[in-house]
Symmetry: C2
Subunit: 366 residues, 2 copies
């Protein structure tokens, strides 16, 4: 009886000290917890420990238990760099986009992030601020980081693609989204159906009785500026409405340029538009603000629609009558899904894909 007790006590004391040592080792974390470290503790080989943690069938169940317990105890975390080196990949997806202050891109990131992390990838976002120089820097940085794939919305300055072509030359798939190389330069792309969005917006205004609908376009460098214009044109045509170049003007994201575009559109008081379709909501807001202050005679009768469906609209006193919702989350989601299939070689890189995401008209007024 007594000896049993003693044995038990001894056991407890040993357990206590073992725990103590373990805790000390946790605290003085100068020796990182590696497989080798675990192996020495357990008096096993590194390979056994590795296999036990990865649940190899050839490893004894009891051994697995011991190893896994110790790993948990010492908070073992496998070194990603080592695994990446071995597996010849980085588990990183690079994203280059113009600006996170633009809610379209911020929302698109949501879709990207979700599916990336679900599949064990990390996402590095890099903003070009619509400058080619920064875009090149970002691209080079991501190339050095050896991303497994790239998702990119090009800057409005980008015309040469050498910095992005590098990736494909190294076998790294690239998916362009939203903003992409114009014309028929072949690449993988995911686009909003900006034609359909603009067509619907114009149709909506026509249905409300408008005859003179102006189109305020964005930077001509951005490819889909023209698609939107085409949507506008086709809607007019399908409704037998005349097209007038006086009703079309272009601007960029600069307020000054928007104002002069609006001045042009409303230059002829006898023939001024009663409705407006705008490339992007911030531009539309600048336009409406200017129109209001410039005391346009029928300002309150002008109905407008922009792309974006910004949450801020509900705070405006004279809000656009509707918005074109571009479903950025869905665009991002489609981009990452396509990229993952390219990475996994489910699709050949040279077999260029094109995915179109429809827009939806959201009506604001009651």
């Amino acid at each position: 009886m007594k000896s049993e007790e003693t044995t038990f006590q001894t056991f407890e004391i040993i357990a206590f000290f073992l725990n103590y040592v373990l805790r000390l080792e946790k605290m003085t974390n100068h020796t990182p917890v590696t497989l080798k470290f675990l192996a020495e503790k357990l008096k096993m080989s590194v390979s056994t420990v590795s296999k036990a943690l990865n649940n190899y069938p050839t490893i004894n169940t009891y051994t697995k238990q011991r190893v896994q317990e110790m790993a948990r105890e010492l908070r073992f975390t496998p070194n990603k760099s080592a695994i990446n080196l071995k597996e010849r990949r980085s588990c990183i997806i690079g994203v280059i986009l113009p600006n996170l202050l633009d809610h379209f891109f911020t929302r698109s990131i949501y879709g990207v992030e979700q599916f990336a992390t679900q599949n064990g990838y990390n996402v590095i976002i890099s903003q070009s601020h619509d400058e080619l120089e920064k875009e090149i820097q970002s691209a080079n940085m991501l190339l050095k980081s050896r991303v497994d794939g790239l998702i990119v919305a090009i800057s409005k300055q980008t015309q040469d693609f050498a910095h992005l072509d590098q990736f494909e030359q190294m076998g790294i798939p690239v998916v362009y989204y939203t903003r992409n190389p114009s014309f028929n330069l072949s690449c993988h792309k995911v686009l909003g159906n900006t034609f359909q969005g603009c067509y619907q917006a114009t149709q909506f205004l026509i249905d409300r009785g408008h005859q003179k609908i102006a189109y305020l376009g964005g930077p001509k460098m951005i490819n889909f500026t023209h698609d939107r214009f085409n949507g506008y044109i086709h809607a007019l045509k399908d409704n037998q409405l005349p097209f007038s170049s006086a009703l079309v003007a272009y601007t960029d994201f600069d307020q000054e340029n928007t104002i002069s575009a609006i001045r042009k559109l409303f230059a002829d008081p006898a023939n001024s538009p009663t409705a407006l379709v705008a490339f992007k909501e911030p531009i539309l807001f600048d336009a409406l603000k200017y129109l209001k202050t410039s005391d346009h005679p029928h300002f309150d009768q002008i109905e407008s629609i922009g792309f974006g469906n910004n949450a801020f609209i509900s705070y405006l006193d004279s809000p656009p009558i509707a918005s074109v919702e571009e479903n950025p989350e869905s665009v991002g989601e489609n981009a990452i899904k396509l990229l993952l299939r390219l990475i996994n070689q489910e699709i050949d890189m040279s077999n260029h894909q094109k995915v179109i995401v429809d827009c939806k008209l959201v009506v604001h007024c009651g």
Copy 2:
């Protein structure tokens, strides 16, 4: 004479073929360009190639030239995983924040990104969407990626910090910014001077003759809600204005709650506030919108100030009279700078630092 020409031609032909072979090798990129590959091409040892590329003084200038030229030719890019493994680091900074749709955080990223990339670090951003569960997931993901440092703005649900303490236990420095563990829980932090910001806002309204100034606070879970309240209180006190609990209400980011908070503040028509200081602009916008639709008798005389200085303010018809600019870029910049110093062991991790970034009152009305 003739022999010289022949030699020259021969040389050209060789050069041409060499180029051809090199291009072929570039195209069929099945063998990745590694140091070993370069070494074999150049008939040198791997170590010489490595040293030549890293400009070691012990390597002959001519050798360096040859190596660097070949490296450029074959587009050699050192494998980051291999370097990271050797250097025992990842060159990745993790950032956990509630939401990129909040311009404060988006702008703060700008400061972080800039200094991180300048110092050779990549940034992985992870959104918690103000949910503890997601924050824990993000933290674990970043821990697995073995980030070299962490910058975090906690979710409004976070009260337990085990998932973040892990990092420091593994020797990875953590800097809390903006939102941080309340009370005197010791950690590295970079904060906006939210007390001063709120004090100035209140003082500004007092200077404009307001006597009954309401304070619309944010979620009580967010630590600096109280700092702002104190700024408000102190401004009142310093101007010998009475404090009334009827003039204080709290909400979160939910519109419904904001409306009921506003109802409470303006419940007594005889004693309703003439000015309003709000925790954050989106909340203020909700409040103003409700006040306007609820036909408050002196709506147009109510002057208000919120935190944020949102760019959209210029589009509002009845904008706040001023904004508290929180300088998010500067907050982000200070956070990454502190983190880098911790990573470089210029500051001991146990020597907890606190950095305060002042706010600035921006007046909107003419």
